[in-house]
């Protein structure tokens, strides 16, 4: 079975540029819309890139700000100043 790395975000104006960045940077991403939230799934790994979000919001963005809109996730987290990535290693 494919291991799905996943991020669920609230469906708000604040989260929308992050959702768009994820969809642009993760080919093959699958989107599941729920009332109030959106779940984004990718096989193996899924990433949020700081630069892609900044491009969309026109200001600097700290990947830790994702905590304000994050609902859930699946995978091992790797976070630093430039990205927020979830992946399965095995």
């Amino acid at each position: 079975m494919a291991q799905i790395a996943s991020i669920t975000l609230v469906h708000t104006d604040e989260a929308r540029p992050i959702i768009e960045a994820i969809m642009a940077d993760n080919p093959g991403v699958r989107v599941m819309n729920m009332p109030g939230a959106v779940k984004l799934d990718c096989d193996g790994t899924i990433t949020v890139k700081r630069a892609s979000v900044e491009e969309r919001i026109g200001r600097s963005w700290d990947p830790q700000e994702i905590q304000l809109v994050l609902v859930s996730m699946a995978g091992n987290l790797d976070e630093d100043d430039d990205h927020f990535t979830l992946s399965w290693r095995h």
Partner: protein, 505 residues
Amino acid sequence: MSGTKKLGLRQRYEYLTRGLDWETSYQPMDKVFPYDSFEGIKIKDWSAWEDPFRLTMDSYWKFQAEKERKLYAVIDAFAQNNGQTGISDGRYANVLKLFLTGISPEEYQAHRGFAFAGRHLRGAGTRVAAQMQSIDELRHLQTQVHTISHYNKYFDGIGEFPHMHDRVWYLSVPKSFFDDARSAGPFEFMIAIGFAFEYLLTNLLFVPFMSGAAYNGDMSTVTFGFSAQSDESRHMTLGIEVIKFLLEQHPDNLPIVQKWVDKWFWRGHRLLGLVAMMMDYMLPKKVMSWKEAWDIYFVEAGGALFQDLGRYGLKMPKYADIATAEAEHISHQNWAVFYQYTHAAAFHTWMPDAEHLDWLSEKYPNTFDKYYRPRWEMWAKMEKEGKRFYNNALPQLCQTCQIPMAYTEPGNPTEICFRSTQYKGDTYHFCSDGCKDIFCDEPEKFSQAWLPVHQIFQGNCGGATVPDVLRWYNMNVGADNMDYVGSPDEKLWNEWHAEKLRQAS
């Protein structure tokens, strides 16, 4: 922040969690940390602990303050606009009653438990993470109480939640779950709540519940839910880091951790049966069925997780296959319990209407029409004939999960599953092999269980009759309990609805 002289995230986190603690010299370390060795877990290097969120205290306060500001703006707006009149149906309020009496007090228990773990694990990184989670859990309780207090102005069954949590028969299910975790050592607590509950199962509780709140017009609950859930992602990460850390530290830890994973998966599965019932029966507008949620959040997400952890030799929890098979039954079996004991429950019940029955048939094609629809139709018919079905005796409870023994044999949904064992000359009964195994591993602990039915018979719950016991629960009989139809909640809801129609015309 590339291009600035600010420290990077990794460095900032290093400074927070490394070199701040010290080897004690006035007292031996083992006396300062007396709880972190008796469970048999071996830690060679605490500094190997890594929190991938790398959250420093200043960022923690900044983000939490921002979340609170947003939440309270929504709560205020909801109250100012009489948001309670805009929910999908008056029945929806019962979801909040179950949540506040059954889940919110466990946020408090989690707060206490993580405060304990934060004090008693000797690695600084682990302690920081556990302390943040402890504060989060307290915040969750506070925001939940605050949000739902608005509903308490209008609906019954809410105001006595802490008193009820400590006394009411079905609330002993979540209470004993957390009592069990909190009376274990700090490592078992971290695996029980941090890993099994937060990582493996919390999605099943919060995501469909909050999405359900959104769908049913309860914006205040959606907001506290998602606000709490944003902390939950950090907790999930703590959970997965704990298990990896323990398994990497010493091979002897594997059998201990596996045993805890097996135990707490099964206990969590039983506890979440209450959520299953809430999703399939109590939400007037449904987001997804319990079975669908189970497939996404346990079969799919749990499957990926255990495939990943397989490199340490950790296996899927024992009885995961049974739990997955039960996902087609558990919500129906639990709703049957509450329907027949509605006189003793602090929320309202009802039989599904035709549209709801068809939704259940569609979502549960293998089981609903065959095993449960006939029962609901019979009860609905009895209700119409003025012979509404009640169970007037007290149920047999499982010694481990404390739920009425209502679950059926694996593979045979027409027969109740009975399991039992002997300990020191006494008989103990269980709803499943999972619950029996948990008892048999620690009979010293579970033979002390406070089983509500047995306590009533021993004379410890206010008296011998049902009205005596309900009084001892602080239940407002005739308002808090019984069917939704005919309740003061329904009367109020119908008045609001009539008023809206009058204003619209």
